[in-house]
């Protein structure tokens, strides 16, 4: 516990502190840039980009060894990964644009093929003299154990740059993500913005490789955006909340991971993030599952209540078990299905309101008002008392209930 506290307060060593800061910066950048991707409905393109980094890592290693180095320079490896990531991205776009295949097939094909090539290269490297201790497997799942100080600096600096880029590009990218047609009309170069968006995603992926690994960086690009979407309808808010979710996950995850052995950084960060997602899925106030269930349940009861009352007013038999239950619970019918005093009164009121609406639609040709005639909005909420009195006058008295409709 103290170890965790230490880590959370950046007291678990210089490297760990740098990693935690780097992870939160990376989390922020991933969350914010991932939101653009998510709003553009291209979340899984990041999966192709991430998997396409692997051959780059391998090739960079081989190239660096061929040039006489030991091949483990992080900047070099990341540069290599960026190159193949971009090639993978272009391959996805090319397949989607030039052939009849849909984007999901293109993504799946690119990610599996590039990854396969990457694995082939890793086995090549393992057979090289310098390859034994290459530790390139760390790029699959991320590993901060034994990370060099300069690696931590690379992550922290890279994370900051990505956050800065997100901040600079936030307006045009939000515009494009929200409504590309409108953005084009407003003079934004959509193609360039898409490229900038994908460039940012590639940068985040590459920076995150060492920290969370290529399989899980996808999670950092998708989960914060989806989580933030539950809390706001405004895209600008979603961008920054997603950044916040990513930052919190990155920081907490990195600290947790530093506090105990056998807690790999990448999976922990992702799981913290997934925890925030699950919480939002259920408990978000407007879009959450519980709120939606409650609303639907109320709505269904109101529909059935009205249906039942109309049937009572018309003296029609009710067969629907749910309708009967609702009426019974409200004390509107007795156990044997006969209407109670209250039931008859409410049925009469419902039928009369129906009638009033019918008059209202004849009198008012204004669809803004009569368009609210959905049977659930009380007539009192739409028309004034005087207007209703006028409808009643036309009906000819409030007692008329079951004598048929207007023709």
């Amino acid at each position: 516990m103290t170890a965790l506290l230490d880590a959370l307060l950046l007291g678990a060593g210089y490297n760990a502190a740098l990693v935690a800061i780097g992870a939160s910066l990376l989390g922020f950048a991933a969350g914010a840039s991932g939101t653009f991707l998510f709003l553009r409905k291209r979340a899984l393109v990041s999966d192709a980009v991430a998997h396409a980094t692997l051959p780059g890592v391998g090739l960079a290693f081989i190239a660096m060894v061929a040039l006489g180095g030991d091949g483990r320079n992080l900047v070099g490896l990341l540069a290599g990964s960026a190159v193949t990531a971009v090639i993978g991205l272009l391959a996805v776009e090319w397949i989607t644009a030039r052939t009849r295949l849909a984007e999901d097939s293109a993504i799946g094909a690119v990610l599996s093929v590039f990854f396969g090539i990457g694995i082939v290269l890793l086995t090549v490297i393992q057979s090289m003299a310098q390859g034994r201790q290459a530790g390139l497997e760390g790029f699959l799942l991320g590993s901060t154990a034994g990370m060099l100080f300069q690696d931590a600096v690379v992550i922290a600096v890279g994370g900051s740059l990505a956050v800065a880029a997100t901040y600079v590009l936030r307006r045009p990218m939000t515009l494009v993500a929200f409504d590309a047609e409108y953005a084009r009309a407003a003079g934004v170069n959509v193609r360039h913005m898409d490229l900038a968006m994908m460039g940012l995603v590639t940068a985040v992926t590459v920076i995150g490789l060492k920290l969370v690994g290529l399989v899980l960086i996808v999670a950092m690009l998708i989960i914060p955006a989806v989580t933030a979407r539950f809390w706001s309808e405004r895209s600008e808010h979603v961008v920054w909340s997603a950044g916040l979710v990513g930052a919190v996950s990155g920081y907490t995850g990195a600290a947790l991971s530093a506090s105990a052995p056998a807690l790999p950084t990448g999976p922990i960060i992702v799981l913290v993030c997934a925890g925030l997602f699950v919480f939002s899925l259920f408990f978000a106030p407007a879009r959450g599952v519980l709120a939606a269930m409650l609303r639907f349940w109320r709505f269904q009861r109101r529909v059935h209540l009205r249906q039942g009352l109309l049937a009572l007013a018309r003296a029609e038999p009710i067969h629907d078990a749910f309708t009967l239950r609702v009426l019974r619970q409200k004390g509107l019918i007795r156990a044997d299905g006969v209407a109670t005093e209250a039931g008859r009164a409410q049925a009469a009121k419902t039928a009369r309101d129906e009638h009033r609406w019918a008059i209202a639609r004849e009198v008012h040709q204004d669809t803004a008002l009569t368009g609210r005639y959905d049977g659930l909005t009380p007539i009192e909420a739409v028309f004034t008392r005087d207007e209703i009195a006028e409808f009643d006058r036309r009906i000819g008295g409030p007692t008329m209930v079951a004598s048929g409709g207007p023709g």
Partner: protein
């Protein structure tokens, strides 16, 4: 030479081909339904399934692991559907959330539990172990009729053959409902076809193929075979029947060529060590797809389908 081929290459090639075909068959429908990435999701969640099965049974035996993996695949599919519907999230993002979170949980469980003593690690899950599925008693072609030698066949061969046969059988039996509901779901529902069950069934069969293949060949091949051969096949023809046939051809070609290139290719280039067969098979399937994208007779979108749709 012949004996060496039968001993060291025949069974891996057979198993690889069977795995490729088992994945490519359902892959055809996944690609047409724009659900290609379900294959990706399934192959990721196989890992947590296997780890959980190991933690529960404390053994590395095949059956519990297959069940664990299949269970995880079904859980993932249900979760994806639930997130999509409950949270009103677009399918791609729902998939991304689900499989990455489950994969992370799998890795964490693996690290936390003491699995170092047994052969269970992430790399194995990714790359499989095709090269080790050799047939030591297969000392020559005549071993194929030698009962004692046949008993020494790797058990993965039988499992994979059974899985492939089952997938093929299900594809044939449910061909019409699959085709109708993939083409026009509304019409299929009006025919009273259980479209939800058909969709789920397809995913379960895909999961089954993935799980059976996973153990032998690793998850890279699984994803690649779900998508690349069917996608390449789509560019070769305009009939579903021939598309499926082409995809089987491409799947087998990828497996055979990939294995041969991985095993013998480095030797031709003067190197000594073979490279990953699983990775090479995926790469070959990608090369086939690339060729189909460049030269496939039906590679381009055509006709009035898109532009003429009403405003």
């Amino acid at each position: 030479m012949a004996s060496e081929f039968v001993q060291f290459s025949l069974t891996p090639i057979l198993i690889g081909s069977l795995a490729a075909v088992a994945c490519a068959l359902p892959g055809n429908f996944l690609v047409l339904r724009r659900q290609a990435l379900i294959g990706d999701a399934i192959s990721h969640v196989v890992l947590p399934g296997i780890v959980v099965a190991f933690l529960v049974t404390a053994t590395v035996s095949t059956l519990p692991m297959l069940l664990g993996a299949a269970g995880a695949a079904v859980v993932a599919v249900v979760l994806i559907e639930a997130i999509k519907r409950l949270g009103r999230i677009e399918p791609g993002a729902a998939m991304g959330v689900t499989f990455t979170a489950l994969f992370a949980a799998g890795v964490l469980l693996l690290e936390q539990s003491d699995t170092s003593s047994v052969h269970l690690d992430v790399e194995h899950a990714l790359m499989g172990n095709l090269e080790s599925l050799i047939w030591l008693r297969g000392t020559g072609w005549d071993a194929l009729v030698d009962w004692r030698a046949l008993q020494g066949l790797p058990p993965e061969l039988g499992r994979m053959a059974a899985a492939c046969a089952l997938v093929a059988l299900l594809t044939i039996v449910f061909w019409r409902p699959l085709k109708i509901s993939t083409f026009d779901e509304g019409f299929a529902q009006a025919l009273n076809l259980p479209t939800t069950a058909i969709g789920l069934g397809l995913v379960v069969v895909a999961a089954m193929a993935a799980v059976a293949a996973f153990d032998a060949v690793g998850s890279i091949i699984v994803i690649a075979m779900f998508i690349c051969p069917p996608a390449a096949a789509r560019l070769m023809t305009n009939r579903l029947e021939s598309q499926v046939a082409w995809s089987v051809v491409f799947a087998i070609a990828s497996a055979v060529l990939g294995y041969v290139l991985a095993g013998y290719g480095p030797g031709w280039l003067g190197a000594h060590n073979a490279v990953s067969a699983a990775g090479m098979i995926a790469a070959v399937s990608g090369a086939i797809l690339a060729l189909a994208c460049l030269f496939g007779p039906h590679r381009a979108r055509i006709g009035a389908g898109k532009e003429a749709s009403p405003v």
